[in-house]
């Protein structure tokens, strides 16, 4: 297999990589670029642990080929905090104990950030539907939803 050269932007940084034609964006992020925040849960788009945004659109990176990232802007969990400054969502996840084992957490944070960008003042129902593609087997979801609602409130008040 001939490797494909891809130029892209990840969390604002111009990035280049070589990938196999059948290599997913998730595999490229984790195995080549050392960005292991995005997790592989199912590998078939069901669990959301690998959530990233591509050109501002929330997707499962396990269902995107690395080659498709050519010219795209990718955002991952690694770009969420600014230096030592946690994103309000990250802070509220800690304050609300919205995580236990943590495998689903990066994907849920990326998905929740995307929600608040699309809809800064979501209802609880909208929040639950938006995050329906992110599975968590520890928390029972309530604490996650509360954390997202609290972060949304803080972000609205700050803006």
């Amino acid at each position: 297999m001939r490797k494909i050269h891809v130029s892209t932007k990840i969390n604002g940084d111009p990035t280049e990589f070589l990938c196999e034609p059948d290599e997913t964006l998730l595999d490229v992020l984790r195995d080549q670029l050392g960005m292991t925040g995005s997790k592989e849960g199912c590998g078939t788009g069901d669990c959301g642990a690998c959530s990233v945004t591509v050109n501002g659109r929330l997707v499962c990176s396990c269902l995107v080929l690395g080659a498709e990232a050519e010219g795209a802007e990718v955002a991952t969990i690694e770009g969420m905090a600014e230096g030592d400054q946690l994103h309000p969502l990250q802070r509220h996840f800690i304050e609300n104990a919205a995580l236990q084992c943590g495998i689903c957490t990066p994907g849920i944070l990326v998905a929740a950030k995307s929600l608040l960008e699309h809809n800064p003042d979501p209802t609880e129902e909208e929040t639950r539907y938006w995050l329906a593609g992110n599975l968590c087997r520890c928390t029972g979801y309530d604490k996650i939803i509360r954390a997202v609602m609290a972060a949304g409130k803080e972000m609205r008040e700050a803006s």
């Binding site: 034609p21 788009g45 396990c62 995107v64």
Partner: protein
């Protein structure tokens, strides 16, 4: 495996017609990549059509809308004009998968994947949508119901692919709806689906109707007797009962763990009735 991302329809159909071996079309990838991952597909080539002009566009055309083959469900839902004209088609597409899947999945992929339970297909069929097929001799338009021929099978030749679907113009006093039954509230495969489009005249009499059932046969079933049951009526209870009976009579479901034959047959009529009420209210009844 090789990855191709041509910039024109001509280059794409030429690649498909060449002797490179098995070649699969990639738009949203939400079926293809899952199949590859689970070993159901091992293509020699992948042809990514997203760099071809128009594939990602929703375009007004002759009073209707043309959807490029790579337009995602999320993009459809965010498009005010399309949602105003074809709410049933948009809501059917919006039922496919999670937010993440919506970011990539396409109605053309849903059509070409040829699952009998595809959500957007009954809605497209009810809308009398056409598919524009790109091939070695240019493009041709066919009704969307002629694309799938059975589970996982389409009528397309090896060197053809669907470049877009077109939702035609219809009178303002029209409405459409899609409903499906699933045993949970989100992210499941239709046990029965029903797409329905109708047009009313000035005094609320139905002048045109089209009813399509999903997941109760090897492909979408167009129920002409159900359309006839509505036409000439004011979509009253008697007409709705006749519509439901026609749909139940037309359903040819299998029994599996998601539903028995009896259940799916009955629910076909129930969903059609409910979809007709929604479509009629959208038409201004």
């Amino acid at each position: 495996m090789r990855y191709h991302a041509p910039a024109t329809l001509e280059d794409a159909t030429q690649l498909l017609g060449s002797d490179l071996g098995d070649c699969r079309i990639l738009a949203g990838g939400t079926d293809l990549l899952v199949r590859m991952r689970s070993g159901f597909a091992e293509p020699d080539n992948i042809l990514d059509i997203k760099r071809i002009d128009g594939m990602r566009d929703i375009t007004a055309e002759d009073g209707g809308w043309r959807l490029g083959a790579a337009v995602s469900g999320a993009e459809m839902g965010e498009h005010a004009g399309l949602t105003a004209d074809w709410p049933g088609v948009v809501e059917a597409a919006g039922l496919i998968g999670s937010t993440q899947i919506q970011g990539r999945c396409t109605v053309v992929g849903n059509l070409c994947n040829a699952s009998p339970a595809a959500d957007s297909v009954p809605a497209l069929v009810a809308a009398r949508a056409t598919a524009r097929i790109a091939g070695p001799n240019g493009t041709r338009d066919i009704p969307v119901e002629d694309v799938p021929t059975g589970p996982g099978k389409t009528s397309l030749a090896k060197d053809e692919f669907v470049a877009s679907v077109f939702l035609p113009a219809r009178p303002d006093t029209s409405g459409d709806a899609y409903l499906r039954f699933i045993p949970r509230t989100e992210m499941d495969i239709a046990v029965v689906g029903c797409g329905l489009s109708l047009t009313l005249d000035g005094d609320g009499t139905c002048t045109d109707a089209r009813v399509a059932l999903g997941a109760v046969g090897p492909k979408v079933i167009i129920v002409e007797d159900a359309a006839k049951a509505l036409m000439g009526t004011k979509v009253d209870e008697a007409a709705l009962d006749a519509l439901a009976a026609a749909c139940s009579a037309a359903a040819t479901p299998i029994a599996d763990k998601r539903g028995t034959v009896e259940f799916r047959t009955h629910v076909s009529g129930v969903l059609a009735k409910r979809a007709a009420k929604i479509a009629a209210s959208r038409a201004g009844a």
